[in-house]
Symmetry: C2
Subunit: 145 residues, 2 copies
DNA sequence: TAAATGTAAATCGTGCGCGATTAAATCGCA
DNA sequence: TGCGATTTAATCGCGCACGATTTACATTTA
């Protein structure tokens, strides 16, 4: 048996604290647009593909209706998107960007670049780090059977 | 200008989703002990050094009193630790492990090892990944002036 | 020593995340 | 065709996170 690691050397804490630090660094930029960080993630998906069912966002973000439903309602009231039942399958809720939601795209997609600058790391390092973390995440999800 | 990246290639989302995946993989083990994930982080710090002021935990976790106060009260009611005002400086709240809190140490410090096994990554990779993520976090915090 | 300054927790409100449950629509199959 | 099983959202409760403010105590300084 090895000695227990201190918090500062735990991968779980590195991820936890880094994720919070990233959200904090995004915050001033998102505030100007009236977005929270998870809402920014939702819009990022809709900027890639507009008019998606909620179930697809849930899949991509690994979030469930108990998180997404109230969040999307707030985004609808704020005027970023519309929610409407699919005519073919009334169980599904389809999400569509409004003009306001579309209008934020150019400004918002600059944020990851600002973030990269703030981090002081070069793009290649950022890319490989992203891949390694995504691989870890996918393996954990797969093990979660 | 480069093209905007899809969500799946954003470092911020990799961190966000991996952090959630790690917490999900810890959950069944923590549930058995009656702990939440942030509570496990608090205990990890107290297992390293018992009898700390709340301000030191706040510094280590980068959390503030608005998060920690209610959380520590819950942990106190659950019997994991005690909270008491420091006699020398009545502004401070000192945290001490109870027998129950101490008793979880051996079992809980095994969790990161289980996690490592689940991840399917070798210890060396885990360590360098942890370091890289911590470096990124620290640079972002430093830029956050 | 009294007033100004600084520091540590606590409090309040809002928005996630998620377990558990419910409701409604669709699908599958006898 | 009809009825059980499945799928999709919605709802409810609780525990973080965090901005903003307040309270209590300590320290500095006039």
């Amino acid at each position: 048996m090895t000695q227990p690691l201190p918090l500062s050397q735990l991968l779980c804490f590195a991820l936890y604290s880094a994720s919070h630090a990233v959200q904090a660094s995004y915050k001033p930029l998102l505030d100007r647009m009236g977005l929270t960080y998870p809402q920014f993630l939702v819009l990022t998906l809709l900027w890639e593909t507009d008019d998606q069912p909620m179930s697809r966002l849930a899949q991509a973000l690994q979030l469930e209706s108990n998180t997404l439903t109230p969040m999307l309602k707030r985004m609808e009231s704020a005027g970023f998107l519309t929610r409407s039942r699919d005519a073919q399958d009334e169980r599904q809720v389809r999400l569509r960007l409004t003009e306001k939601g579309l209008g934020l795209r150019a400004e918002a997609t600059e944020i990851p670049a600002c973030f990269l600058a703030q981090s002081g790391l070069d793009p290649t390092t950022i890319r490989s780090l992203t891949d390694e973390i995504a691989t870890l995440r996918d393996r954990l999800r797969a093990a979660q059977t």
